[in-house]
Every structure is written in C-alpha cells, then in structure tokens.
Amino acid sequence: MRTTEICVIGAGPAGLCAAIAARDMGARVTCVDSGDRPGGQLVKQTHKFFGSRAEFAGKRGIDIAGMLADRIRDDPMVEFMLDSTVIGFYDDGAIGIEHNDALTFLRGERIVCATGASERMLAFPGNDLPGVYGAGAVQTLMNVYGVRPGKAVLMVGAGNIGLIVSYQLLQAGVEVVAVVEAMPQVGGYDVHARKIQRVGVPILTSHTVKAVHGTRVVEGATVVALGSDFRPIPATEEYFHVDTVCLAVGLTPLADLLWQAGCKMAYVPELGGHVALRGEDYETSRRGIYVAGDLAGIEEASSAMIEGTIAGLSAAQSLGHEAPDFEERLATARAELAALRSGPKGQKVRLGIERLMRLGREVGVVA
C-alpha cells in the first residue's frame, strides 16, 4: 500500500497551506483532491482579497491558487493526486481513493482534512427547477468555463458571496435584476455592496424569494418583503422576469469523512453546522486527524489558509519534525487569525469558536 507522512485531503487554500507548512517542516506530504487542478474554490475567485499581505491581500483568488501550488508543485517531498476522490476511512487507518474508476488505498501517519464546504439550499416552491443554481456553481460555470448561467439573474443573499458573484455576473455581461436578503442589513462588506449598487442593482434587505416559476426551466421569481419576525408581509409580492435564480445563502462544512472517521462532532450554527471538536492545533478527537478551512468552520479563504498552516505545522511536529522557525510561524499564524476575526464582522465566528472550545473542554478534546 502507498504510504505517506502527512495526507492532506483537499487541495484548496487550507489544504495547500497545510501541505506547504508540513513540507517546510521536512515532512513527506501527499495531497489528494477530486478536482483536476489544485486550488479548490480559489480557481473561480476573480476578485481581489482583503486581509493581510501574508495571505495575499490585493491578489485575485485565481492567481493565489497558482502561487500556492507553485511552492510545492515540483517538490520531491510532495505528491499531488488529482482527479482523485477520497471515499472513506478504513479500519486499518488507510483512506480509500477513487481515481479513473479504480480504488486505491493510501495510509498517512497524519491526516489533514480540508474538504471545504457545500452550498446551502433554501426551501421554496420551484427550488428544484433547472436555472436555480448555487452561487459557487454560477462562478464555476462562468469564471472557470466561460459560460454565462443565463441572461437575467435574481441573487438570493447579500453576504460576501452573493455580492461578489453579483458583480462577477455583471462583468460577464449578465443582468442582475436584484439581490434579496432576508436580514434587515447587508451581511457582506460595504465595499462589495457599493460596487453593485453604483451600477444600479437594487439590494432589497428584509426580502426573500417566495417562489420560482416555470414549467421546464426558471421563467420568473416572486419576491416578498419580510417583517421583523421574518414572516412574509401580505400583498408585498413582486414578480421578476428572470431565467436564473442564484442561491448565496451560506455554506455548510463538508464533514462526511469526519463523521465516518468517528470524530466527535458538534452543531455550531455560527460555524455553519456540524464541525469537529478540535484543539488549538486543529487536531480532532480522533488522534492524528486534523481539520482546517471551511470544514473546521465556515469563514473565508484567508482564514482557511492560516488554519491550514497551523494544522500542517502541528501535524508535522507531532511526527517529530522540527524547524527553527516553528514557534515563530505558529505564533504569527495565531496572531493573524485573531486579527482576521476581530471587529464586528468577525463576531459570529468568534462566538462559534468559543462555543466549540467550551464543548471540546467538556468532553476532554481540548485541554
């Protein structure tokens, strides 16, 4: 059986940074990803990132994917297994990997799980019609493959993803008729909201999609105003003629592997759903399995990169690898993470992590 020291599952921002950090410590790394190129969801992020310079502030996600991968692409200590889907943990500690319709096995002494997230659905009549797409799907179709998702789009959700994808739709020559947001205020950064408002896209806060209409595909959508109790206000319905409805209503950690591995999980709504209990070093209750990125709690690519670094450094160190700058890198990463989570926009994540750590202490996962 194929073996490695650090097996990284997922080559997105978190996984790539975990692989880089572990390699820097002198560990042998195998990075497995179901996609055909490293970068995960970075490969469709055409906007410039905020945050700190260490996490590529000012650079576009599409470029960051390549820059991260380049650091380890030709390294003899790092192996990439692409177009390879991890399908489960096996009793002997190996993971099963599907590649070209064949099953292979890989045993890693440590595993960094960085599988990311999946998109949330919203319940309304017609939500299964072709033309109702997740925001990530719209990005993939238009930013990776150059195909417009439609001609006129209703965006549901005014968090950062909804705002950014709305702008990207406009850049691709697609009309965005409106952005609806159930909360009374915009969830994403003002700078993203202003970019679409400047060109006339209305952001309707305290509004949601009531129904999507069409016989075979989306032909229109009805939007309704919400009261302070989040119930629809009668007679406020408005019809929009659209061929696409884009759902940007949040993400939830893609945690199937962790459940199957028997990691202790907790439901933490502030982190997007069920997440693994884990220590400050991102090791889960199952020794040797670490988490990082959206899987560890829904945040942003910048925080995913730092979490990946922490998990990669910690996993390699636990195998006895050393580097003179280990302590310093770890401290820097923790400080950057704290800075990213500071301020009012980081409050939700801070509350979620506090709750996660409290639950972890109760069951002894966290010291």
Binding site: P130, G131, Y133, V147, Q171
Partner: protein
Amino acid sequence: MAEAAMTGARITVHPILEFKEGRKVRFTFDGQVLEGYEGEPIAAALHAAGVRVLGESPKLKRPRGFFCAIGNCSSCLMTVDGRPNVRVCTEKLREGMRVETQAGKGVLLAND
C-alpha cells in the same frame, strides 16, 4: 424563455479573465449533434448550447438541472456512452460522446 433559445452564452470578452478553449468537438445529446470544447464539463457544453434540463426526478418526473457544478450534489446525473449516473458537471467532454437523458435510476452494464 424557450429552453433551446439561449444563444451567445459563451463569454468572449471579459475584464479579468481569458478563456483558453480546448479543441472544438462534436457530441450527441439524445441523438442531436452539438458542439463543445474538449475537456470542459459536459454540463458546461450543454448549457452553452442552451440545454438546461439534464434529466428528471425519479418519482415525480420533475425536470432536473445541475445545482453545485462541482460533483457534490448529484443533481446532474446522465447516461454517457451507455453508462448511467455520470455527474456531467465534472465529467470532461470528449469527441463523439453519446450523452443521454437518463430514465429512472439507470442500469449498470454487466461488464462495467
């Protein structure tokens, strides 16, 4: 909007991105000859050709399109070259592929 009337779905000019298309190839969708670019997902080629309905739900026979486009949600299962349950949002397009709407859950071929 009529299903097949969507034209000009390919982005030709973009302020940030440049699309390097693969070789143009022909494939069939339920017997109809369509064109797409080699290596792009089958679903992208179909969408660009105006095909949004990829299948139907097994019980209520409601139309189905893709939803996640990254191989997670299984909303886009089709029969490709006789093989059922292919996620066409990630399966790469090749010359001469036979892409078909799938009826029901599909049957695996004995030698598959």
